[in-house]
């Protein structure tokens, strides 16, 4: 990893964080998702193929990273950018894809904790912006109302995201340079089985949003069985799902009209 790469990745960690200058839709919900983040790191480090090998399992594990009410315990942007960067920087030390994924999850664990801590610092420091905003509001200064939010929020946000990210990435850079690091096999096996078990966390939390009636479990099981018994691809299930949803909508709309 070169210094330029470190700075570029740290910049994207900031852009993919909550409340960055590009907005949450482009930032947190797009640049911050593991699928996109690993792709970006792949471009920066010149190895998109390897980046996607670790990006896909990371995305599956963190699929349901929902942050209700701004409660962030786990910073996804931090986790996946650092996880992918670590896997790419240290890929020389491991022999197979599973071990590479293990490295990515290790990096994601470190990144997630650092990012989560920095989010809480950000969240606490932002309180002072209220005093600034109150003063602007009291003056009725509509032209400057953007300043506490954008300037104040971005200064704090950038400092909380960019600087710690550079520090962590520099440490990874140093580790990547030292040859002869021997990551033990049991560790990589453990961490990659943790990664694929983590997918259950994502699914379980999404289910908590989707399941409203008992019979909803039956629909969930149908999806499950389409894979295990009918061996369909994910894409095929998605297409079937869309068709079923459209038919269901048409039917309930019609029955409602007939009822009147």
């Amino acid at each position: 990893m070169t210094i330029t790469q470190v700075i570029l990745i740290a910049l994207f960690i900031y852009l993919g964080a909550i409340g960055s200058i590009v907005g949450n839709t482009i930032g947190w919900y797009a640049l911050g998702r593991p699928l996109v983040a690993s792709f970006v790191v792949g471009i920066i480090m010149g190895d998109v193929r390897t980046a996607m090998i670790v990006g896909i399992p990371l995305q599956i594990a963190y699929l349901a990273n929902v942050t209700p009410g701004g409660a962030v315990a786990w910073d996804l942007s931090y986790a996946t950018y650092i996880g992918t960067a670590m896997a790419l920087a240290m890929k020389g030390t491991v022999s197979n894809d599973a071990a590479l994924v293990g490295l990515a999850f290790t990096g994601a664990g470190i990144g997630g904790v650092v990012g989560g801590t920095m989010w809480n610092v950000h969240y606490a420091l932002d309180v002072f912006l209220n005093r600034w905003a109150e003063r602007v509001a009291a003056r009725g200064d509509t032209k400057r109302m953007w300043m506490p939010n954008v300037i104040g929020g971005q200064l704090i946000g950038f400092a909380c995201r960019f600087i710690p990210a550079v520090v962590v990435l520099l440490a990874i850079r140093a580790a990547g340079k030292t040859t002869g690091i021997n990551v033990p096999a049991w560790f990589l096996t453990g961490i990659s089985s943790f990664g694929s078990m983590m997918a259950a966390l994502g699914m379980g939390i999404i289910l908590s949003f989707l399941i409203k009636e008992r019979y909803d479990w039956a629909v969930f099981l149908v999806g499950f069985m389409l894979i295990i018994y009918f061996k369909l691809s994910m894409m095929a299930v998605a297409v079937i799902g869309v068709v079923v949803a459209i038919l269901y909508y048409a039917i309930i709309q019609n029955t409602k009209e007939e009822a009147f």
Binding site: Y29, V36, V127, S193, M197, A200, I206, F224, A238
Partner: protein
């Protein structure tokens, strides 16, 4: 002459919200500062003197929080009410009360429909594209990076405009008509099918118990007995022959149960999974009964 907020100002107000709603989140007013920024262009156009502007800005720097992407309806409604107020209809208190009342329902719809359903769904589709195209894995992220922000921007703007045009009553009657419910039910079915398929495809959970014994196996080719290690009991294989992938399914249901019924925090569940992974990996390395042991 009646005061009206121009299209240009509406767009400016919306953009202020869409791009910078999360800049200054904190525990005191949540997204209050960002909401005031979003309202500023409209307030400038509606009120001419400093006192009115100050009063209006003040009532929008107070506590506000929502899922910002679908919650743009609140900004639309608030601008509509400010416009009426500038023309002498309604009270400042009514605007405050409406905003507070909108926090709950808009967050709930936004989080469950957009954040928990549409985003994972779109990610899943792009993910499947990437994993099925070994030579061009970049297709998935590039597609997501275009479709998600663009689609969300257009929808969020439409909802914002709807809020402004239809006002609180209009939104309430739309919600009462049940159409939104039907859309959500249909999307829920799609979501359930996809999550079921994802669980089967990607969640893994193995006990790694594989009891092996060294025994003499008769080799029919050479007509001799040779010492060999054979597996006599593999727990994972037994479970899979009862119902394929029953263990990953059970783990997913356990997470659901802990999260919804026992109110465990996601971080706690993550710790539990970490401990489980550590223990089961360790079991896998125990000689004779472990799956990874020679």
């Amino acid at each position: 002459m009646a005061k009206v907020v121009s299209q240009k100002t509406l767009r400016k107000s919306f953009n202020n919200w869409f791009f910078w709603n999360g800049c200054s989140q904190q525990a005191e007013t949540m997204q209050g500062i960002a909401f005031a920024q979003s309202m500023a262009p409209a307030i400038e156009e509606l009120y001419n003197n400093k006192e009115d502007r100050a009063a209006a800005l003040k009532r929008h720097t107070t506590l506000f929080n929502t899922e910002p992407q679908l919650g743009s309806v609140c900004n639309g409604i608030a601008i509509g009410m400010e416009e009426q107020l500038a023309n002498g209809v309604g009270t400042p208190e009514a605007i405050q009360e409406t905003k507070v009342a909108l926090i709950g329902p808009t967050s709930a719809i936004g989080d469950s429909l957009w954040v928990a359903t549409i985003i994972p769904l779109l990610l899943t589709i792009c993910l499947s594209l990437s994993s099925s195209m070994k030579t061009a894995p970049w297709v998935g992220p590039v597609l997501y990076l275009i479709i998600y922000p663009l689609g969300t921007y257009l929808l969020s703007w439409k909802i914002f405009h709807l809020g402004y045009k239809a006002g609180l009553e209009g939104i309430q009657s739309f919600m009462a008509s049940g159409q939104l419910n039907h859309i959500m039910q249909a999307i829920t079915i799609l979501g359930l099918l996809v999550v079921g398929a994802l669980t089967a495809s990607y969640v893994t959970f193995a006990f790694n118990i594989d009891v092996k014994v060294a025994t003499n196996v008769f080799n029919s080719a050479t007509q001799t007995y040779a010492s060999q290690v054979v597996s006599v009991f593999n727990l994972d294989n037994v479970l899979n022959s009862i119902f394929p992938k029953i263990a990953p399914l059970a783990l997913t249901v356990l997470v659901y149960f802990l999260y919804t019924k026992k109110n465990w925090k996601p971080l706690m569940i993550m710790l539990l999974i970490f401990v489980l992974a550590a223990v089961l990996t360790a079991i896998g390395f125990i000689p004779v009964i472990g799956a990874f042991a020679a």
